[in-house]
């Protein structure tokens, strides 16, 4: 099951935003796989297509900043603070830090392909028109080869594995490993719980 959403990557100038279409694969129940950055174990959370932009935009922005070498923090980072609680190690984690390596790789590839490379093309294309220049003092040669973009990356498919836990504190459902029986707090709100 693929969930599609649009992510707007804000650039410095607010009027110049990039609209990026992303398809994220969830399992048949609509659960999205995550990895706890502390203990490294996978779990799944519910994700609604309408939440996708909210969930992935900060990640796209972070990757874009890394790729173009911009170290400044995004001012509008409220979404980055969305927290989850690992069902295994109970650590409080930032949702943005809990993407699986597959999702990270996918978002990185798509960001490179759709945002970073076009940006670089925009920067270098005018220079390539200069060709060989000789100003009398310094000679320089610029060769910019646009080349072909590699195919657009794909995400998933996501297997329908793991068992569901319904947290009756908030009514939300998460998934954990079949053999795991020791979840002690709600993945979403952190309330201490006991599995019945």
């Amino acid at each position: 099951m693929a969930t599609t959403g649009f992510v707007e990557d804000q650039e410095d100038d607010d009027s110049d935003s990039v609209r990026l279409s992303v398809s994220i694969s969830t399992d048949q129940g609509g659960f999205f796989r995550r990895t706890c950055p502390v203990c490294g174990r996978d779990f799944k959370t519910e994700i609604d297509p309408s939440e996708l932009q909210w969930a992935l935009a900060p990640l796209v922005q972070r990757i874009t900043r890394e790729e173009i070498g911009d170290s400044s923090e995004n001012e509008n980072n409220d979404e980055n603070q969305n927290e989850l609680y690992c069902p295994y190690c109970c650590e409080k984690i930032l949702a943005i830090d809990s993407h699986t390596s597959d999702t990270m790789k996918y978002i990185k590839s798509i960001t490179l392909r759709e945002i970073v490379l076009p940006m670089m093309q925009k920067i270098f294309s005018p220079l390539s028109n200069l060709g060989n220049q000789n100003t009398g003092l310094v000679s320089f040669s610029i060769k910019y080869d646009r080349g072909m973009l590699s195919p657009r990356p794909l995400h998933g498919p996501e297997p329908p594995d793991m068992k569901q836990i319904q947290f009756i504190c908030c009514g939300k459902v998460a998934k954990v490993y079949e053999e795991w029986h020791w979840t002690k707090q709600c993945v979403y709100c952190g309330v201490p719980v006991i599995l019945s």
């Binding site: 590839s109 195919p151 297997p159 329908p160 569901q164 504190c169 079949e178 979840t183 719980v193």
Partner: protein
């Protein structure tokens, strides 16, 4: 013939598929031969992939060289069959052809030439974009559908907040009655117990020789509800007087975590004045009464499950 897969087999197959797919789509163009070989090997050997591909490859037989000749004569977009199944099978045969046949290079050159691309690497990139990627998207969807069939039924265990779990000595249900109503109250007691509640009944919960008042008080202390039965045997306001007072005391102490429930049977006298501020219901039979009782309780039972002796 459909084969059943375990969730572990499915998870592993999809994991391998994603690795092979991403390597083939995104690794350096110079290594594409190796990745294509590994991907085709996965398609030929993995049971999940075979379940997707084999029926189609049996239904549609292609002469790739013939397709190649026809396609080579056309400038512009490649021509694929109208049927999505047939198109999917053809794409796979083209990938297999490039992988296995000495003439694979010819296919790649033809695809490039159709778009005025003559560099080898760019022709391969075109093959990746026009043939491989759509195939990957489709096989991913088809593998996902088969994987869903292997999923366990949707069953969720519940995680209950600790604050919502009463301790063992605060969730009993005190059944207040006179001896003459014992058969009626015994029916409530048995049903509550069968469902998993902890009813408190003097004859069952009082130990021999213990003081009546002390036992009653302890019974109330450990309860989350007191149920009063007003039947035709009800005599006057003093009837069950001490127990009503205990109940009101508990209600003041425990507030929402204690319910006073009065069930008034048809033909009984009015509900005693002390109990009227609390929940009471006029009931015509036990089923009615039980419905009102469970509705008014401050505790509820957990999720449904198979009985232990049903599931080995």
């Amino acid at each position: 013939m459909s084969i059943e897969f375990s969730t572990t087999e499915v998870t592993e197959a999809l994991r391998t598929f994603r690795i092979r797919r991403d390597d083939l789509l995104h690794e350096d163009i110079k290594t594409i031969d190796d990745h294509m070989l590994r991907f085709v090997k996965f398609c030929r050997e993995n049971p999940l992939a075979q379940q997707v591909l084999n029926p189609l490859l049996a239904d549609y037989v292609f002469d790739v060289k013939d397709w190649l000749q026809k396609a080579g004569r056309v400038d512009g977009p490649l021509i694929f069959p109208d049927s999505s199944d047939e198109e999917f099978a053809l794409r796979y045969k083209l990938i297999e052809f490039v992988c296995d046949s000495d003439e694979g290079g010819q296919l790649i050159r033809m695809i490039g030439r159709n778009r005025n691309v003559y560099k080898h690497d760019e022709s391969i990139e075109l093959f990746r974009t026009l043939i491989i990627r759509p195939f990957m998207e489709e096989i991913g969807n088809r593998l996902g559908k088969i994987a869903n069939l292997a999923s366990p039924d949707d069953r969720a265990i519940q995680a209950v907040p600790l604050s919502r779990i009463p301790s063992l000595n605060e969730a009993k249900i005190f059944l207040s009655h006179k001896s003459v109503d014992k058969p009626l109250v015994r029916r409530y007691y048995n049903t509550l117990q069968l469902l998993g509640f902890s009813p408190w009944l003097d004859e069952s919960n009082m130990t021999a020789g213990s003081s009546l008042e002390r036992s009653l008080l302890q019974g109330f202390e450990e309860s989350c509800a007191a149920v009063f039965f007003i039947t035709e045997n009800f005599k006057d306001e003093n009837y069950l007087g001490a127990e009503v007072e205990y109940a009101i005391m508990q209600k003041r102490k425990k507030n929402k975590k204690f319910a006073i429930i009065t069930l008034r049977y048809s033909d009984a006298a009015p509900v005693p004045g002390l109990l009227t501020p609390y929940t009471y219901a006029n009931v015509s039979n036990d089923l009615d009464g039980f419905h009102e009782l469970t509705r008014a309780l401050p505790v509820e039972l957990g999720p449904m499950r198979w009985k232990a002796d049903i599931v080995k």
